[in-house]
Amino acid sequence: MNLATHGAALQAAAGHGFLSPSGVEIVFLLVGVVTLGAAVLTVTTRQLVHAALWLVVALGGLAVEYLLLTAEFIAWVQVLIYVGSIVVLLLFGLMLTKAPIGRSPDADSAGRPAALAVAVAAAATLVWVVTDAFRATWIDLDGPAHGSTKVTGQALFRHWVLPFEALSVLLLAALVGAIVLSRKYAAEAGAGPDAGAGTDAGGRAPRTGERQS
């Protein structure tokens, strides 16, 4: 998205061959391999918490890839939101449900082939879209950064304001939905122990309570 709006800063691939990669390109590929490996381990490991920790490696690897593409702001936001918050939420959920140390025999589901098919289809679509959109555009790493905070902010609030606002409305809807869900349960439970937990954690706690009862 950011790259597309700054097409002027990008060069055609005419001067770049795939047989004489620069140092940054080699690092980019290596980090990509590590990220892919961590992602595969995330979905194949039988140990639930290990899956969450491999997810940290995968998300962190993705942040490094953003950095190598000079998109510094996006990289730190990736770490802040995904590694710092989403994974902590995941681990919180795993701890609440007492994820065992060692293998979880029931971690496998019958939907494995279907999940694989969906994953492959999604990956193929994404790869196809990205290659079709950018083809052989190349980022000039020596010039001014194309992903600095200033450039990203200008692109976001000048060219992409509408999608940005639409996303805000989507998040607001999710927020309201979470509040509605947790309040409904509190009303049904009456003076249950979770009835007073009207905080962020309250939206999660009643659902776990529901499963246990």
Binding site: V56, V79, L80, V83, F92, I101, A197
Partner: protein, 322 residues
Amino acid sequence: MNGALDVVLRLIAVFVVFLAFPLLVGQAEHKVMAHMQGRLGPMHAGGFHGWAQLVADGVKFAQKEDIVPADADRGVFRLAPAVALLPYLLVLIAIPVGPGEGAVGQAIDAGLFYVLAVMGVGVLGSLMAGWASANKFSLLGGLRTAAQLLAYELPMLLAAASVAMAAGTVSLIGVLDAFHWWWVPWQIVGGAVFFVAGLAELQRPPFDMPVADSEIIFGAYTEYTGLRFALFLLAEYAGIVVLSGLTAVLFLGGWHGPFGSDGLGWLWTLLKTAVLAFVVIWLRVSYPRLREDQLQKLAWTVLIPLALAQIALTGVVKVVIS
């Protein structure tokens, strides 16, 4: 060649600070707590004022056997202290101590986001330790750590966003360059929110519920001994240094001071950091521990509204003066 040497020297300097300052804070905590609470123990070792207490502590930690519980997840258990400690070293690289290019480990364009993002990673160490220890008290400690993070992350980000709005940049050096003395009263509410939320992130009293020793032994660190336990303690003190330094840089003007800020600006940064670190220790000996629900209530009904009000105030003033 000169550039490479410069980078290496800066990294070495940051590393030395990272090794020395947390120990200084630890020593100060011993002494301040001893004076405030009339504790005799920390004033005994080595004779004069108990100067050797920290050395004795270090020797004690190094002598202890490194035990991994039989049922623990060995790999994660061993990795957790490093995950808890390293982020603070990385954050320290980006904190400017003085004016100009020479007084920061590495100038980072999105420095504010960098420090907040990397500081957040340190919490994963506590969570990993809590889960991998195969101990229910550790697990409870990990749970409390995660619940605490959900509460303080948002007010901390909002308070930091207020400063970024005021300065018009997310670079820590840029924030300091744009600083004027009247920012202190202007941003004081945001500063207080940031500092309190940071205390909760460090699990320092009065927000030490995740390691409440009278309830759950020592939370996520219950099963740790020897050097690995010392690493967790070091992470806590490094966290105090980082939080105090960040608060000083963002809200108190860092190297700006009433006089002498051109040549001796770094002294102002250190002075402000030291005073804030003292406040952190002071709070430990003077405030009772908050319960989980009290912390959540404080975060969602006090800190977040205050941070939002600060952002509104920042926006209004910014529009008026521009």
